[in-house]
């Protein structure tokens, strides 16, 4: 592709565009931005493709890393999402059904998906990207570490923390008081 082979670009695009698009979409929640960033990633690849070093990771990780940089830039520039406080004690979602049921017990499939999507979008960026990569895109810890440029242990601890945050956001209102001790203990191991 760097040599000017159009077919190579088309093939590469068909293989990689979906993963990049999904990652960006899960990170920002807006299809328009996901489309823009996907385009920017491949335009970057056309001009700066030499920056890819196979010794440092896979091409997929490289492209997702570029996409991550673009989407974070857009997120920070546009501020179209209300960032959620890192302290999850104040981050619980209101209006959830009460009782001893689980966080998503009474929700339909569509409601569950939408609730989880919103909860993910409300996560701080560093937790959101780990959830998207490891839970939604099913990347291994190693691959996620390549994308984000951090250690595997960091991925593991961020994911643990992100799941705790998600549970807190999805927890029914009257369950907060009874399970807060459990959640607090989780923080100690994050």
């Amino acid at each position: 592709m760097l040599a000017g082979d159009e077919e190579a670009l088309a093939l590469l695009y068909r293989r990689r565009q979906a993963g990049i698009y999904r990652f960006v979409l899960q990170m920002c929640g807006l299809p328009a931005i996901a489309e823009d960033v996907t385009q920017e990633v491949f335009i970057f690849l056309m001009g700066e493709g030499q920056a890819f070093d196979p010794a440092r990771g896979s091409l997929n990780a490289f492209l997702l890393g570029v996409a991550r940089n673009y989407v974070l830039r857009r997120l920070r520039g546009e501020q179209f999402l209300t960032p959620m406080a890192d302290d999850f004690e104040e981050a619980a979602l209101a209006g959830q059904p009460a009782g001893d049921r689980g966080p998503l017990d009474d929700l339909t499939r569509a409601e569950t998906i939408e609730t989880v999507r919103k909860a993910i979008l409300s996560l701080p960026e560093k937790y959101r990207e780990v959830v998207v990569l490891c839970e939604l895109e099913n990347l291994s810890y190693v691959e996620a570490a390549e994308v984000l440029g951090v250690a595997i242990g960091t991925i593991r601890s961020r994911l643990h923390r992100a799941r705790a945050l998600l549970l807190e956001k999805l927890r029914p209102v009257d369950e907060e008081s009874t399970s807060s001790a459990t959640v607090k203990s989780a923080r100690c191991f994050a």
Partner: protein
């Protein structure tokens, strides 16, 4: 396994990730015994299912089909631009090279032309041989106005020398040997000192011409210029060339051996 240990593995357990079979078994046993950890595991399972539902829901999401066409168009445009810039770069390279060659050749021609022109303008210097001039007058710069009238110009030898070259010579040097006349052969055996200025000396004085006049001086005159003098031959005479300007004033002198 206690609750703290269970908390560290519950996420991996709910996600179905690979873990040691003993730890997995202990965690499941603990969740059966501890209601709080059982609820914790249940919630984690539910979160995992919610995340899986979302992952399945968005699995088919992909960029719009027209994006590929846009990217391919961009790719073609960039490739065309690159080829144009490469071609333009080659042209610029060759044009620069040609300009550099022309500049070098032009500079050479200009220098040669300038040399030829200045050669035509330099004073024609003739070495006078024969009659002697009053050495005292020469040294004092009190030659009569105008070209020396009491000297004879050599008919066969009229070398053209640039006054500036003469003045610039700072070493004893033999007079060029490539001479054809007997006089020239005689001169070729001579060794001369450099020209020593007599008072203020300016090369511009020789733009309109000048003469070199051969004279004989008492050897003691050499001492006046700081040259060593053999006291045994103190009374002998020594040959010297006096450089006269167009105004007849002596400007420089050199001694000949």
């Amino acid at each position: 396994m206690n609750c703290q240990k269970f908390e560290t593995v519950v996420g991996e357990l709910a996600r179905g990730r690979m873990m040691e079979i003993d730890i997995r078994r202990e965690a499941l046993v603990h969740s059966d015994e501890c209601s709080r950890c059982a609820l914790r595991l249940r919630n984690e399972d539910m979160l995992t299912r919610g995340l899986q539902l979302l992952a399945v829901e968005t699995e088919s999401a992909q960029a719009p089909s027209q994006l590929e066409q846009r990217l391919l168009e961009v790719f073609r445009e960039r490739r065309a631009l690159q080829s144009v810039s490469l071609t333009g770069g080659r042209w610029r390279y060759w044009i620069s090279a040609a300009a550099a060659v022309l500049l070098i050749v032009g500079s050479g021609v200009a220098v040669r032309w300038q040399i030829a022109k200045s050669t035509d303008q330099i004073p024609q210097v003739a070495i006078e041989r024969g009659e002697q001039t009053d050495p005292g007058k020469l040294l004092n710069g009190s030659l009569p106005d105008g070209p020396a009238k009491n000297v004879k110009h050599s008919a066969n030898w009229k070398p053209k020398e640039r006054a500036s070259n003469i003045l610039a010579s700072a070493r004893l040097h033999p007079v060029p040997k490539k001479m054809t006349t007997p006089v020239a052969n005689h001169i070729s055996k001579e060794i001369a000192t450099e020209f020593m200025p007599l008072g203020y000396l300016n090369a511009a004085n020789f733009q309109d011409g000048g003469q070199i006049v051969r004279v004989e001086l008492p050897r003691s005159a050499m001492a006046s210029f700081g040259l060593p003098v053999n006291m045994d031959r103190y009374n002998e005479r020594v040959k010297a060339d006096v450089l006269l300007g167009v105004d007849g004033v002596a400007h420089a002198i050199r001694f000949i051996q």
